[in-house]
Symmetry: C2
Subunit: 326 residues, 2 copies
């Protein structure tokens, strides 16, 4: 049996900057994405795909708001479940198209629930903007009617803001493992998964958004997978981003990555969670962690596994055998 | 390993007559439904749940229409995928609550794609009404703009009408089988599954609605499951429905059922597809087929398997050992 890689992709890999989010756009983007996955599979990897859902759940929230006069609006966590169905279907169809001939017995999307801690400090300090922009009056009305926390987001207006708690466990981990063992490519924890907490009556949904890179890490350690690949818009992590000293990092040890994080090298809104997810994965027993662009997924992971020295994505490693050129 | 039962429930088991379709309503109904499933599991059955999505996909279609000015509307088959996420999540959470202590390693919802034949005659004669009622002007506009087929539905107005083709195969059958073998309760083929056809580039979605009882039958034979339980609003199938000669049937042989179908005993909109699904299941190798209410699922299946004679639901059997009282 081959090794397993969990590959985490942003929701903007499916609806790109400037796109409206039509089905056709998402389908074409999913096809492109499925090609990188197919290259991994041909090299013998078993793959689990975790996808984001930011643009898609945003559109769904707009639909829901507009239709509210006529039929009930569903809670945010349930819109998350809907996007697991919507995007899971699109990605599975694309994987079936692109992995024909690769070593796979099929592709399957699992509606995934991710346990969070109700005492997570994130619940006292919501930070994640979601859904459409509102004017001040609409924002006040939503806060009064539905108890939303609404904050100003840049100069474009007000938006709902929700907690982004840490993922603790994946309810469907055993099912996902069984499917991977059976040879399926599995799409799971879409949008970070449906957040649930344990109430006295059992697990139930809670309105929050789990970071999909953190969810991918918890899933990767639960399976357990050998590799975690965090896909982003750039080929490598950059040091001193936006300054004249900006430079790509092709390899960093966990301790180096922790130091960079502590000194504010990686902003929380973008590279920070990816680097943190990579560190946690390795510290919890993972073998290979890579941060790179869709185009370099295959090459970077190959380099990482074979311990080739190359110039592709960013490998995060437990220990660096040789500190060169620092 | 225990025997497997595929249990098919209507979407109106989740949003009941007169309910608007709030999350809380669906959650409470799912809890009730999960209790019948738990009773089967305690008796050693492995269970796959297939659910309808009529009321829910209808609400989603209304949301989508209202939001169309702002963000793209997704195709009908993709709304079906969304309800597989939405209802799959609700049902899985309910199953986890209610099957605590039953023999289960967990519950999991699989986004399921069902292959249909593009030459199915249903595509030339759409019969399934979906989505909101429209006035004549709106109906004509939708027909012109989007190529919808729109027909008058009773006296309440015009509605979109879509084909209801026969399910041919379940793309995720092997994955569902693997999960059942692993001891999971599986929620699959929700709303009859996302209808797909094989295009030259691979499988892709098509706007249609697959009857969920037929999809449940194809899935049951694919696994293969020993039992197919078709859950409906009444305890038994009724002969001479609505006449002074109306009477419940507690057992019928496949050949009898075929005769009743041929003589128009079972209307196409309601009992017809259930009786036909039961017949097909038995003729394709299935062992036990039952049509009954949620309350009698456990008792009817027990009676069917043990060949007890009772007065619970309707058993359809390959051969009747004794034709009594006809």
């Amino acid at each position: 049996m081959g090794k397993t890689a969990v590959v985490a992709l942003g929701g903007n890999a499916l609806t790109r900057e400037g796109q409206a989010g039509t089905y056709e756009e998402m389908e074409a983007n999913a096809n492109a994405m499925a090609r990188s996955v197919a290259s991994l599979m041909r090299a013998g990897w078993r793959v689990v795909v975790v996808h984001g859902n930011g643009p898609q759940v945003g559109n769904l929230a707009i639909h829901q708001e507009e239709g509210t006069k006529l039929v009930p609006t569903q809670p945010l966590f349930s819109l998350g479940a809907m996007t697991e169905g919507e995007l899971g279907s699109i990605i599975v169809m694309a994987l079936r198209r692109m992995t024909d001939g690769a070593r796979s017995r099929g592709a399957v999307a699992v509606v995934t629930h991710v346990v969070v801690n109700p005492d997570d400090p994130a619940f006292d300090d919501p930070t994640k903007f979601i859904g459409p922009f509102l004017d001040k009056e609409q924002a006040d009305a939503m806060a009064a009617e539905r108890g939303w926390v609404v904050k100003k987001d840049s100069n474009r207006g007000y938006r709902r803001v929700v907690p982004s708690p840490e993922p603790v466990a994946i309810l469907e981990a055993a099912a996902i493992r069984a499917l991977v063992e059976q040879g399926q490519v599995v799409v799971a924890a879409g949008g970070g998964g449906v957040p649930v907490v344990r109430y006295p009556s059992g697990f139930g949904g809670i309105d929050a958004v789990i970071d999909k890179d953190y969810a991918a890490q918890v899933l990767a350690n639960s399976i357990p997978a050998e590799a975690l690949v965090l896909v982003t818009g750039v080929d490598t992590v950059l040091l001193n981003y936006g300054t004249p000293e900006q430079k790509p990092i092709h390899e960093m040890a966990v301790t180096e990555a922790e130091e960079y994080l502590a000194t504010g090298q990686f902003p929380e809104g973008s590279m920070g969670p990816k680097v943190r997810a990579a560190i946690r994965f390795l510290r919890s027993g993972g073998e290979h962690a890579v941060i790179t662009s869709p185009e370099l997924v295959y090459a970077s992971l190959k380099e990482s596994v074979t311990e080739l020295e190359g110039e592709t994505g960013t490998k995060i490693v437990r220990v660096r055998p040789l500190i060169a050129g620092m």
